[in-house]
Symmetry: C2
Subunit: 319 residues, 2 copies
């Protein structure tokens, strides 16, 4: 069992006996949707859906729903994962990525056209899946879908601009990552009959921490990813927190377009030498702590403990 699988297993155990069957129904439904889209799409969408992934967003829906285990919880969890999958498929088009989660990407297997259409289809299916949950639920998903696209556009607008501020970086992370975490918690809360926004600060903060640590990882290059060049963000012009913080110490730091992978690794080393990775990690840890402390006081014990563990798992990925 991988570390990530062990963590999910612990979270499921802590959250209560209703969670594992719910997650199983989510998997079943994701496969059914992927398989029910004509032969071409089925091949690619099924590949996308079975390639694994942590299912962190569906887990948030299920946990935010408290003890509720109705069809609406499954719909919400399925819908957020479909939007997430659609985003990944489109991101891989942009990056012309060959592999994701160890499997060929849709764009590598089927070409750009298939990948764009597959992403569009997964996105459309997410909305129709969620319809029986009502207008508030679809609104939450629609807002997140818009935010994801806006974040992607912002990233491109800011490409190769070394003067991006921390605030602007965090705003981009909010759009690209945290908003879908917030939507996941909102969808779960709605099913619990709770006010949809109670978990929003929690979801936002772990989403930001998740993205910051992902960006740290791209510079630090953990052992388990040996073989993958560090600095892919630098190469595609994505200015992230480690670079921004490092530049406060070393104003001569640059990451211009057209670097070789070897040059990007040198920039990674210079970033690390400033202590910026530790500073960025510290910010992520603060956000995780803030996330936990923002949980409403009246949450039942199992739900609170499970959400605490989710927050910890965001950090543990990078320990």
């Amino acid at each position: 069992m991988t570390q990530a699988a062990a963590q999910v297993s612990e979270i499921v155990h802590v959250a209560g006996p209703h969670v594992a069957p719910l997650l199983a129904r989510v998997e079943e439904r994701l496969l059914a949707i992927a398989g029910d889209s004509g032969p071409v799409l089925s091949e690619h969408a099924t590949g996308t859906m079975t390639a694994g992934g942590k299912r962190l967003r569906p887990l948030l829906v299920v946990l935010a729903a408290g003890g509720s285990d109705g069809a609406g919880v499954v719909r919400g969890a399925v819908a957020v994962e479909l939007v997430h999958a659609a985003t990944l498929v489109h991101d891989d088009v942009l990056d012309a990525a060959a592999l994701r989660r160890g499997q060929p990407t849709v764009v590598a297997a089927g070409g750009r056209d298939i990948a764009v259409a597959t992403g569009d289809l997964l996105f459309a299916r997410a909305f129709t899946e969620l319809l029986p949950s009502g207008v508030d639920a679809v609104q939450a998903l629609g807002d997140a879908g818009s935010a994801l696209a806006e974040g992607e556009l912002m990233q491109r607008a800011d490409a190769f601009d070394p003067t991006i501020s921390v605030e602007r970086y965090l705003r981009r992370c909010e759009l690209k990552t945290a908003c879908l975490f917030v939507a996941a918690c909102r969808l779960g809360s709605l099913e619990a009959g709770a006010e949809g926004g109670a978990l929003a600060p929690f979801a936002r903060d772990i989403g930001l921490a998740f993205q910051i640590l992902d960006d740290v990882l791209d510079v630090s290059g953990p052992a388990e990813r040996t073989g993958k060049h560090r600095g892919t963000d630098l190469l595609d012009g994505t200015v992230t927190l480690p670079f921004i913080l490092a530049r406060e110490h070393d104003g001569s730091l640059e990451a211009p377009a057209g670097m070789t992978p070897e040059q990007a690794e040198v920039v990674c080393d210079r970033i690390a030498a400033t202590g910026a990775l530790e500073e960025a990690r510290a910010r992520a840890l603060e956000l995780v702590a803030s996330a936990k402390s923002s949980l409403p006081g009246d949450l039942p014990g199992p739900q609170r403990r499970a959400l605490d563990l989710v927050a910890d798992s965001v950090v543990a990925r990078y320990a």
Copy 2:
């Protein structure tokens, strides 16, 4: 005034005095949405929205709504046009097209990344726009969005396969084109308080005729498009009705991958020599006639006459 503008003007006149103000509100709202998406997107989305286009789908929504002129009609018209615009932006990514409606495409102006994200954003906005109209409306749009993506996938799966049947071609046209026409009429009908499907046969048939005639145009090459190579469908492997029908007369006809534009023009000439263009046009005319005769008997006179004119306008584009 262009011929197309004159036709729309006549349709608006026939349909009644409520139609022109409605269409103006649709334009206003499309621009407001395009402009309300952060500076990067606004530039590209506004360009997409102001580049013209016939606004045929919004017109169908407005006409299907009968005399209704509420906010729901505007929402429906805006939503179908947003989905249509999203599709065009993504199609241009696939084709790496430089111009559309005489303006640089989003992909040409901003690159692939911007274009994929812009399409995603327009798509998400379409759904959130329509939310206040309720679940039936969003379902209609979601089904159409799925169909569009399925049609695109089908087109790629069938690329360069000369044995595609007429039935399979028509099914693809239904997914890629007619389904959004059907959704447009459904959205309008829902606002009129009518049964959503009454205009579906009409919408389906003019959608199919529209696509067939578009495909004929790609082979015949009308005078006003001189300068554009004929046979772009042949070059990207899209097997269309003229080719399928021509091959029934001339079994040696082929359109393999890797042709030059000049070779594609030769294939266009061979298709035309079989009489397949006239056969395809005749099929489209039959569909237009069928569309008109399928209109419910109890439609008010102005609505019926306006819809008849819409059907005629589909043909007139190619006269």
